[in-house]
């Protein structure tokens, strides 16, 4: 939280630009809904927001946190340290008090948390969450509804827009039984009116994001809606965390658009069904996470060989193997590019934030159609579930109407012309010459007939590779945040972008000359990157994967392979958590100090 600090309790109201609130409890306490309501409110009050949560991978629940970073200006991370900790249990307190900054505020359930350490100037306010909720709702409610009580407390402490918050809550609970909404609002009001004692009240300076239609949602939602806008109507997948919400959304939404999403028996079937729909002439999608993406690799290689358009979403999670299903990692970049046997050209993109999940889907659709080739979108667990607020996309502007070209093909039609990009004639198309195309995973000639001819294999390899070369020439260069020359260029991809951008600002405020670039187009990389890199003493790829045998992360390896420049270095980590700004700053400073 930037100045002014919250450290001194007083009766006067403080104004804030941003605040980080960490809610720590058990997953069944509904702390995600508190966070969700706050995030949605931010979207409606012209604020920026970023959330972060941990989910136990067991169904029965368990310790869980939801962190909300609210800001009147730009919010790039979920926050390194919390300004406010809300502890539901002793274990929540014990595990998370270290995440609270010096002088921060700790609100805790005085019926649950019995041992607190008075240290680091932390201000404690014990409130009987459970007892107060029971008092508000009557005995039968027990502790259900205490999340709403806490929401009321937070609303009062931060002087949030109560009317708007109540509207959001009502919209959510209004779908259910009447009594559910009544109880929720009773608990909320009890929290709002609770006399916390000697705690100052805060107010946020007015939000700066004054644009009209702001929405707040998570990355999986935006990716799903982006796919719909991109004209995707058919797909198939198998459930896996954190990919599943995308397939659930598509399965529920696609019938409205006349499409079908199939829950397949496994990932091999899922990718095969999607390839079937692609062959049938549609822009199709499959997706998964971790293990499921490994299973799809053979068929993905087929799609490159047969030159079929396909979108593949990988919501990356911690690996290897079953790994950390509910944690963030970016360790599938090499797999995305090189995961299948043989030389299999395909495209790899990564969204930089929740909003960009929508636009990356459109870009994936554009590329898949243009080059008749698989496109892999590398999202990640952090983007999948965190909530951000931003301007609603202009659907009119971006809408792609799905189409199927069944017009008869002329005498000169060939499925695999050596001198042109493949444009398949889907089933249903009449062939004027009476000769029908074969789609093949065996190396083939221009007609798709199997061919083991050495020259033909070389020529077809060239043809398939040419797509990457053409795309590299066409892809836009990343914009530079900060300085366009100087001590270091930080390169990020995926969800690492937010913290990298903030770390860049912090390094600059410390006097370093630093710029930052985000790679949306990871493979192929856009031509001209070398000119950007030339301006800096160090080029540091910041990514959540392991530095491996040679001391470099996966993007750093690719950059080194492409530019053969020893000034390309890495800041890597794999602790299952999103980058803290501080970690990036320290990592970069180490490289800068080394020479």
């Amino acid at each position: 939280m930037s100045a002014p600090a919250v450290s001194v309790p007083s009766s006067s109201a403080h104004t804030l630009r941003n605040a980080v609130i960490r809610l720590a409890g058990n997953s069944q306490d509904g702390i995600q809904s508190i966070g969700g309501f706050l995030a949605r409110l931010a979207g409606r009050t012209a604020q920026e927001v970023m959330t972060y949560m941990t989910i136990p991978s067991t169904i029965s629940g368990g310790p869980s946190i939801f962190q909300v970073h609210l800001g009147s200006g730009e919010v790039l991370t979920a926050g390194d340290d919390a300004d406010v900790l809300v502890a539901f249990y002793q274990h929540s307190y014990d595990s998370h008090i270290s995440a609270l900054r010096n002088g921060g505020i700790c609100l805790y359930d005085s019926g649950e948390v019995t041992e607190i350490k008075h240290e680091r100037g932390i201000h404690y306010f014990g409130i009987p969450f459970t007892a107060a909720t029971v008092e508000a709702l009557g005995g039968s409610a027990r502790d259900r509804g205490k999340n709403m009580l806490v929401l009321g407390l937070i609303c009062a402490v931060f002087g949030l827009d109560k009317d708007k918050l109540v509207t959001i809550v009502s919209r959510q609970f209004g779908k259910k039984d009447e009594s559910v909404l009544r109880n929720a609002l009773l608990a909320f009001d009890a929290g709002y009116a609770y006399q916390i004692g000697d705690l100052e009240k805060f107010t946020f300076v007015p939000g700066e994001a004054q644009d009209a239609n702001r929405i707040s949602t998570d990355g999986n939602q935006m990716l799903s809606l982006g796919l719909l806008a991109a004209g995707v109507r058919y797909g198939s997948a198998y459930p896996i965390t954190p990919w599943s919400p995308i397939m659930e959304t598509l399965r529920s939404e696609l019938p409205k658009y006349g499409g079908v999403f199939v829950q397949a028996e496994d990932e091999l079937a899922a990718v095969s069904m999607a390839i079937g729909a692609a062959f049938a002439g549609h822009l199709a999608i499959t997706g998964s996470s971790g293990p499921g993406i490994s299973l799809k690799q053979e068929a993905l290689g087929y799609a490159s060989m047969a030159e079929l358009p396909l979108i593949v979403v990988n919501v990356q999670r911690g690996g290897p193997s079953t790994g950390l299903p509910t944690s963030v990692e970016q360790s599938d970049l090499m797999q995305a590019i090189y995961g299948s046997h043989g030389d299999t050209p395909r495209f790899v993109l990564a969204p930089k934030d929740v909003e960009d999940c929508f636009y990356i889907a459109l870009e994936a659709g554009r590329i898949a159609r243009k080059y008749s080739c698989p496109v892999i979108i590398l999202s990640d667990q952090a983007l999948s579930s965190r909530i951000e607020a931003f301007t609603e996309p202009d659907v009119d502007k971006h809408w792609v109407e799905p189409s199927l070209d069944l017009s008869p093909r002329g005498e000169d039609f060939r499925p695999y012309p050596l001198d042109k990009t493949t444009r398949h004639a889907p089933p249903g198309t009449k062939m004027a010459a009476g000769k029908y195309p074969h789609i093949s995973g065996l190396e083939h000639d221009e007609w798709g007939h199997p061919s083991g001819n050495a020259k033909m294999h070389q020529e077809m390899t060239n043809k398939r590779r040419q797509k990457l070369l053409d795309a590299a020439a066409e892809f836009p260069l990343p914009e530079i945040h900060g300085e366009s020359a100087g001590d270091a260029l930080l390169i990020a991809w995926g969800s690492a972008w937010g913290p990298v951008k903030e770390a860049t600002d912090r390094l600059r405020s410390e006097g370093y000359h630093v710029g930052a670039a985000n790679m949306r187009h990871l493979h192929p990389m856009p031509n001209g990157l070398e000119k950007i890199i030339a301006g800096y003493k160090h080029v540091i790829a910041v990514e959540m994967n392991d530095s491996g045998a040679y001391g470099f992360g996966q993007l750093a390896m690719l950059l080194r392979a492409r530019y053969a420049d020893p000034k390309i270095k890495s800041v890597c980590k794999t602790d299952g958590l999103a980058f803290r700004v501080r970690e990036i700053v320290t990592g970069v400073e180490k490289h800068l100090a080394a020479n």
């Binding site: 239609n213 929405i215 006349g258 028996e265 079937g276 729909a277 609603e392 069944l406 029908y436």
Partner: protein
């Protein structure tokens, strides 16, 4: 229009489909391979049924038998080993206007693709699937297959197969397929009749066709070939109720060469039909809103 994309083509011109039009490359199979006869009968049946050439889609996985698509002058796709059924599912569900045919071997269908068979069958995907069963891996040159009888020697079972082979008919009955037949590549008339009935069946129709691998397993099906002294014993549908799966199970238990013909046939809604019903219901509720407006409304609700 209820589906996502309009699949109606220009007004159909009455062109007659001939067998000749359907012939593509000369098959690369070994001389005498049973698969030739299957191909020849398929040409004939298509000619008989007069399915428009551009609406015929032939797909396969990998194997000798799975080379089938290259020999068809129709829209065709040669996929990867064992995954032809899910691929065909993707085509069938997204293109109600085309006819999907899948051809493949016993390894492709019952081994590497075994699980896909179960699921395509239970979902009752509208397509026709012919398993050209030669009791051996032909393309990879004589390894044991899931239908290889116990005791038969192969490169991977030099002292004879020891694993119990699957019983294709029982497997298919358990899978939930709605049309299940069995035929023999030397019995051209029977193949013709069975293929025709399978194609006319609205749902997942599957046929096991015993097709000899003359290269690696010659004589494997002589006991079902009257010309070689065997018995081609066709199911009498006056005696066998094709809707009775228990009776079909009993028929499937007969020792080699067993019975030929339709073991089972029932009518059950296809997934194609059920998905379309959901689409129609969803769209009816939206009162004819354009797809673009549906997405816009969705965003509005998120404000």
């Amino acid at each position: 229009m209820s589906t996502a994309i309009d699949t109606t083509t220009a007004a159909p011109v009455a062109e007659k489909l001939t067998k000749k039009q359907l012939i593509a490359d000369h098959p690369t199979w070994c001389p005498g391979c049973g698969d030739f006869a299957v191909l020849a009968v398929f040409y004939k049946v298509l000619e008989k049924l007069q399915i428009p050439q551009e609406k015929i889609v032939v797909v396969a996985g990998i194997g000798c038998s799975s080379r089938f698509p290259y020999f068809m002058n129709t829209h065709s796709l040669h996929f990867i080993h064992g995954r032809a059924l899910p691929l065909a599912t993707g085509i069938s569900l997204s293109r109600p206007d085309v006819h999907v045919f899948v051809f493949g071997g016993d390894g492709d269908g019952f081994s590497i693709g075994g699980n896909h068979l179960n699921h395509a069958a239970r979902k009752n995907i509208r397509l026709t699937y012919v398993i050209m069963d030669n009791f051996v891996y032909g393309l990879t040159k004589n390894q044991t297959s899931p239908t290889t009888p116990i005791g038969r020697k192969s490169k991977t079972d030099p002292v004879g197969a020891i694993d119990r082979p699957i019983n294709p008919m029982k497997q298919l009955l358990a899978s939930g397929a709605t049309f299940i037949g069995r035929t023999h590549a030397t019995q051209v008339k029977h193949m013709d009749e069975l293929f025709t009935r399978a194609i006319e069946h609205d749902g997942f129709s599957v046929i096991e066709c015993l097709s000899e691998c003359t290269m690696f397993y010659p004589g494997a099906f002589d006991d079902g070939n009257p010309r070689k002294g065997g018995a081609f014993d066709v199911i009498d549908e006056k005696q066998h109720d094709v809707k009775d799966d228990v009776a079909a199970f009993k028929l499937a238990d007969l020792p080699s060469p067993g019975k030929f013909g339709v073991f089972y046939q029932v009518k059950r809604p296809t997934k194609n039909e059920l998905e379309q019903r959901w689409i129609d219901d969803s769209q009816a509720k939206l009162g004819g809103a354009s797809q673009k407006d549906i997405l816009k409304k969705r965003f509005e609700a998120m404000r």
